[in-house]
Assembly symmetry: C2
Homo-oligomer: 333 residues x 2
């Protein structure tokens, strides 16, 4: 295991100490254990509170998007492990301004169970909670079984749209509704070239040969749909785009935002080579690109690989996508 | 070689095509070969033009900082190879508004030679050019030989300060002067844990064992000052910080900005664990942190490792550091 860390058992806490030390104007801890992080100015008056949570090891997901124009708080689990319902409740209490709290998180068993429990606990505290489960990865379950899909980089778009809508001081119902619309038109798929290592485990999450890639692999190393020889960038993007485009399906005349997401170790140069091909495929398909995002938005620590996400847009979603945001890991002017 | 690429010989051009396709509102090419990239609105009226350039493989350095509040143009070389003087001249001509052009680039033989030649060629075109060579890496030459040092992540600060000053419509001399002040108080040092592979070469730039690190290695794999067993994050940061702090030297009462820079494959989680220790060392030393930056600012493609940069601040530099910027790879609101 080759990492810049101290005791592996302290990995998450030391990371959190670093993040809080670096961004005291933007973030604060709502609990002694540092696992419930909220905006420094939480709760924000008259605004629906937006909470997320999940295992560590995916920065900027989840914690990195807590800030102006996006989320209000995040419950932080150990690496690839759900935070507890109690930690989610602490976030909920710290961000509720009386207007209710919307949970937005990825579709993983532990997270679903704990967020459901936290929602029940919040009800006892007279906090109104609604939930949205992000399930954008088309590789993780076939069409017809969309609710079984895992949540991956599409989380970024969900946070961005919900955050911009909440900033307009809309109601909990309105914020939920527009975020659900965004998710309904959103599809993702990824490819992994190398594994990552959970610090406390000390060995890679899976094995893959030096000349292989795995299409559809999840951000915790969940098995994909095809393991084979490494293909060219153009071939990889064609496979991912074909699966994504056919799933919704997206069609000529649609307008989309595209997210090319690096999983951790893949250079930005390669992400732009991938974007070049995605851009060409969309043009050929008569689909208009409105605002592309290229970079690391949801990672698996030092995993090499990438994912592509498309989000179908209408005027309302374009307006919300364009609004400014300012978080420790994402700034849009 | 495990990369998401097509033909290795097309690596740089396809990357540039991707970047231009993604950011047409921000960037344009000033030449047919795409190797002279400038702001979409260049030349900017009444503003000193700021140009940089260098080999590819270091995104966001160099090209990624072309945009509002930072640079006006960039000459783009092959991977780890200097662009030509002619390509630099094309940038110069495209960004000069009549107020002159400042070259800001890293201290590497090929770049120095070509930028000097470009400056002479620009003189024939009646464009006034001044140059600043960034040489922030304390590991690359001892104290007393500062001018022989290589330029690494400190380039980011040089672009930020110069860009903010140029945005105030100051003269070429004024922009140069304040950038030189920033550089005089700036020191960096890095550590590498793994090599990277130049696409057209196909094998790693150097070899390093699974349990080793190299302190002071350059961003092209130039030898460092010590190769040894991988240490803990705290130990690594102590070594880097001790070398940096003693070199200027920085002293109690100083105020600094800190940049924790990932070299490509090192997760953001680890960078924040490193920041935690850097923050503690600075506090113990009585040095105040004004604005930390943590992320990937100057990379070596998929190299694992990090560098630390300190920049000493006064009121003028704080004002310029705080000004907004909006480039494809860096946004500050």
């Amino acid at each position: 295991m080759k990492k810049i860390i101290n005791n592996p058992d302290n990995f998450v806490n030391e990371m959190l100490e670093g993040i809080l030390a670096a961004h005291p104007d933007q973030l604060k801890s709502a609990s002694k254990d540092l696992r419930s992080i909220v905006r420094a100015d939480a709760p924000v008056k008259d605004k629906v509170g937006l909470a997320t949570g999940g295992g560590s090891g995916h920065l900027p997901v989840f914690l990195g998007y807590v800030g102006k124009g996006m989320l209000d708080g995040c419950a932080v689990g150990n690496v690839f492990a759900s935070p507890s319902a109690q930690q989610m409740l602490e976030v909920t209490k710290a961000i509720d301004s009386g207007k209710g709290v919307l949970y937005i998180y990825g579709n993983y068993g532990g997270d679903v169970m704990n967020f459901d429990m936290a929602a029940e606990m919040a009800e006892f505290e007279d906090i109104k909670v609604e939930s949205i489960v992000v399930a954008d990865d088309v590789a993780s379950a076939p069409k017809g079984n969309e609710k079984k899909r895992r949540g991956i980089a599409g989380l970024f778009y969900a946070y961005k749209i919900a955050g911009a809508c909440a900033d307009e001081l809309k109601s909990l119902e309105d914020v939920k509704k527009v975020t659900e619309k965004a998710l309904a038109g959103m599809r993702s798929m990824g490819v992994a070239l190398s594994p990552c290592t959970i610090p406390s485990v000390g060995k890679p999450t899976f094995e893959i040969s030096d000349d292989e890639m795995e299409i559809g692999m999840g951000i915790h190393g969940e098995p994909g749909i095809n393991k084979g020889k490494l293909k060219t960038a153009d071939e990889i993007v064609e496979i991912l785009m074909r699966n994504i485009l056919n799933d919704l399906p997206y069609k000529s005349g649609d307008e989309v935002s595209v997210l090319i997401n690096g999983l951790g170790a893949t250079p930005k140069e390669e992400l732009y080579i991938a974007y070049r091909k995605a851009h060409a495929i969309l043009r050929e398909s008569g689909i208009k690109i409105y605002h592309p995002y290229i970079g690391e938005f949801a990672t698996s620590m030092e995993m090499a690989g990438m994912s592509i996400t498309l989000m179908k847009l209408d005027e309302e979603l374009k307006f919300l996508l364009d609004k400014p945001a300012n978080t420790p890991f994402f700034v849009q002017a």
